[in-house]
Amino acid sequence: MKKFDSVKYTLLRAVDVSGFKVLDPVVRLAFGEEPPKQLRDIFRFLVVPTTFVLVCLGTWTVIAPRHKTKSGEVPTPEQVWKSLVINDTLNRREDEKEADFQASDADRAATIDEVKELLAARETKAAELKSQLSEIEAATTATQNARVGPLQEEYDRLKSESRERKSQRKLVIEELAEKVANENATSDELLDALREDKRLSEESKVAEKAVKERINKALAEPPVELKAAQMAFNTAANEVQHLKKRLDYLETGNRSLKVAKAEELAVASLAKLDSAEDAAAILASAMSVVRNEEKAAKTAAQNYPRAATIWFQVQRSLFTVFVGFVLAAAIAIPVGIMCGLNRVVMACLTPIISIFKPVSPVVWLLIFQIVVGAFFPNPETHPLFVYCSKLPFIGKLGVNPALIFSACTVAMCALWPALVNTALGVSSVERDHINVARVLRLGLWDRLTKIIIPSALPLVFAGLRISLGVGWMVLIAAEALSSSEGLGKFVWDEYQNGSSHSFANIIFACFVVGIIGFFLDRVMIVLQRLVSFDDGAAAV
């Protein structure tokens, strides 16, 4: 029993430290501790919130399609889920093409057959869907015509009628004017007639407009089944196109194929070199040999130019925020400690902190683009980027100036919470501890490392946690603006695409950003708990 107890408490502590305290009753229940109380807690803190979230989702599902915007309806949770599937498909396609580009000869033959088979199946399906689509299209046009036809007739009728009435009125008015001239009528009568005319034409215009609007409405709404059929066909056709492209890569664009070709040419030229007799021919074939050798080497080093997909963008965003966060911490912590230790330093920095803290990330980004941009006159050959491109994981992310600008912006905005908290932590070290240090005659370094930093750490981490949250939030804006490949650019590109999926994709990105932000926060909570002494959590 005791053995179980120790497992139980370790688990409970882990749950606590990781910030998932809601799981606490589940753990206790599993070890049979006061089941009624645990069940009650589970109901109150797990079941009720889950139900609430489900109710929210339900409300969303019901309300969303009712709110019609000019860019289409607000996507439902189902559509957002679909956009996850679509984005994952796009990612898979890039993976496949990359694999096809890099495939060795042995793999190639097998894959070609596989792809051909798949292509044939998909092509028949696409053709089927196409015929379905054209049927539905024809039907839609027919119903639309049936609906618009009478309306259009009515509109034309209204138009001609009002035109006729108008001309009649015109005649009457002209007559009246004549009468006024002959003093058979008063000018007031004429004025009234004119006013009446104006009112009547307005009236008929309103009636016409109402019919016109009905026509537009009848034309504006493609039926649901047409949209669905279009989407189904487009999905199938996209897949067919993808498979065709794969075949292209496998059959002609493959890297090893190209290398082999260049090598073959080199060998052929070598043979020519041996048999050539006059100087010009010898030179020409020798040059050809060298050229093709070089070509083969260059081709072998070529990479597949991958289009950025969502998971790659997530990785890159995480990397960017990490760089920015480390930069922010590297500046904020030492400066914060100095501020906390010395009130003069604090007084010097306070105006700077207060002025720059509220500045928008957009402004920082523009400033960094100009200021930091000056350090990279030629990014292609800049040692930093050349070095980064050779690193194992980071090399793939493609570090470029846009990433640096975004990271700097993140750092600039994430700096302040960490700085202020550190200063606060350092300045609020208990007097007793300081006095002990004085008694022990500790030097500055020892005082810092043994007393001040350890006791300030919980607050420092609290600050860093806020910083990371701010940084992640700012990053999306910075990436969107600097078009640094990442989640921010994903959102911006989708906004610019304006396709029928775009809205769902934007909401999807919103969830991706939120979920990642949530986990980043959790990580910081764990770190914070590990360094604080209050509830003994550091023991885990």
């Binding site: 034309l219 490949e485 590109d493 396709s499």
Partner: protein, 525 residues
């Protein structure tokens, strides 16, 4: 190889820049030999057969016919050298200096040649691996090309010229490939359209007569002015085709769109309608928000307005100027100088992409456009719905939901020698920059010719096209037969004013609204 290397210098067109006396003799001898071999062919219309030979000489002395004759042999040698270097390329791929490239583009259907060259493997066949990256706006795109972040990009025709003369960001940008002709439309909000219909009853039909002039808009503008407001319209960039087209359309009906001056870089001086910059993809949203009442933009953003029911396209730039140049493929001069073979390879691939895009079937229908639309609709390219992109790209244009018209020439990528970098295209943009005051000083004719020759590189295009002919991927008829790289004078404008590219100053003076220059300036040295 010798020829290949030296041909680069041949194109400088002065005998002194031949690598050596021997080199020159060699070149001339080969010219004679080729002449003998091909006498039959050369006999017919020798000038016309030698593509671009005449205009190559104009590099040194514009519009002087004497120098044509004087440097005829030199140019001839250069042309033949181009051909010979082509035959080297025939056997093997070009020796590209850089094989992994990054090209930028804006989400508009006219980036198609770049996307197609990548997706159809034309770049790869030249030994290039190309990444195609969407850019948020024209300014950033240009900046990225200048800093070297991008190797080249889909650019507005005015951009290389403006950058080179230093209007906006200054940098020497060149172009050897025109991506497309036409492809823009002017859309007004539903509200403005209704008022236009009221002013011009003939417009009140499901299919009104085209071209619609801005005359119907004039009362709307006047009404706003009387109310102390100015009608707001959007265009995509100060040096964009859209800006000039929208101004042209407004001014042709007597509406003043405003002048640029050295202080007023927004171009609002004297404006009756104020034109402001909005990035293309944001146009529909900005129109919907009521910030602007109309815009001029490329596809798919006009069709998007129809699809969303927020506006009515009133005219296309095809009606404003038939077959006007629209976008170009721009690179920096430094990049082009450092990577001549890569540049050639890229232009080769683009020419093939353009030809592929404009390929027609037996009945003259565009057979590859649907596939192109499918590719463009991928989210990492244009990303709009396939069905929206398809509207304009397959030769149709919706003006209203009830008004679908056949416009086979709405997007021209290759037909009419569209992809050739005509000097005359550059001249037109320069004249419009001067007309609206973006060029603040009067300039002589000669200056215009000099600037375009610094920006447009027909020689690179010709060299690439020649190579493709030798490889059997292009036919001779696809290469324009021109003496000097200028299109003939044309009056295919909405107001019928004739544009003679050889007399830019005279052209500027023909307009009622806009700057006018003293004719004496035109001939001033």
């Amino acid at each position: 190889m010798l020829f290949f290397k030296s041909s680069k210098r041949f194109i400088n067109f002065t005998p002194s820049c031949f690598p050596s006396q021997l080199g020159m003799q060699l070149a001339i001898r080969s010219v004679r030999r080729t002449l003998l071999l091909n006498r039959q062919r050369f006999k017919q219309n020798i000038i016309w057969k030698l593509y671009g030979v005449g205009f190559l000489t104009e590099q040194r002395a514009p519009a002087s016919s004497a120098s044509h004759v004087a440097s005829f042999y030199v140019a001839l040698a250069a042309a033949i050298a181009i051909g010979l270097s082509g035959s080297f390329a025939n056997a093997e791929q070009l020796d590209v200096e850089k094989d992994e490239l990054k090209f930028g583009f804006i989400k508009l259907t006219d980036c198609a040649p770049i996307v197609i060259a990548k997706e159809k493997g034309f770049f790869e066949e030249e030994g290039l691996q190309v990444e195609v990256i969407a850019q948020p706006n024209w300014k950033q795109l240009l900046d990225n090309v200048i800093t070297g972040e991008l190797d080249g990009a889909h650019m507005l025709s005015g951009q290389p010229i403006a950058a080179t003369i230093g209007f906006g960001t200054k940098a020497h940008i060149v172009t050897a490939y025109t991506l497309d002709l036409n492809g823009n439309g002017i859309t007004v909000s539903n509200d403005v359209w209704e008022q236009m219909v009221e002013n011009e009853p003939s417009l009140d039909s499901p299919t009104p007569k085209h071209p619609i002039s801005a005359a119907a808009l004039k009362p709307v503008v006047q009404e706003k002015l009387d109310g102390g407001e100015k009608l707001q319209m959007g265009m995509v960039f100060p040096v964009s085709t859209h800006n000039y087209e929208l101004r042209y359309w407004l001014a042709s009906a007597g509406i003043h769109p405003g002048m640029y001056t050295s202080e007023d870089i927004k171009g609002f001086t004297d404006a009756e309608v104020e034109l402001s910059v909005t990035p293309p993809p944001q146009m529909p949203a900005t129109l919907e928000a009521g910030v602007i009442s109309g815009y001029c933009v490329g596809e798919p953003w006009n069709q998007q307005a129809v699809a969303k029911g927020i506006g009515v396209p009133v005219t296309t730039n095809y009606d404003i100027w038939k077959n006007n140049p629209e976008k170009v493929f721009g690179v920096t001069k430094a990049w082009a100088d450092d990577n001549p073979n890569t540049h050639l390879a890229v232009v080769k691939a683009l020419i093939r992409a353009g030809k592929w895009l404009d390929q027609t079937g037996a009945n003259g229908e565009l057979i590859n456009r649907e596939e192109a639309c499918r590719l463009l609709s991928k989210p990492n390219y244009v990303g709009a719905d396939f069905d929206v992109i398809k509207n304009s790209m397959t030769g149709f244009f919706y003006f209203q939901k009830t008004d679908k018209r056949a416009m086979p020439d709405f997007n021209v990528f290759f037909k009419y020698h569209a992809s050739f970098p005509w000097y005359s295209d550059g001249i037109w943009f320069l004249t419009q920059m001067r007309r609206w005051g973006q060029i603040t000083e009067p300039k002589p004719d000669e200056w215009y010719h000099k600037v375009v020759k610094n920006v447009y590189l027909p020689r690179v295009y010709l060299k690439a096209a020649k190579m493709l002919v030798e490889e059997g991927k292009l036919v001779e008829a696809d290469i324009p037969k021109t003496r000097d790289g200028y299109r003939p004078p044309t009056a295919d404008f909405i107001d019928g004013i004739e544009f003679d590219p050889r007399k830019p100053v005279e052209y500027i003076n023909k307009f009622k609204i806009g700057n006018k220059d003293e004719m004496s300036v035109a001939t001033k040295p």
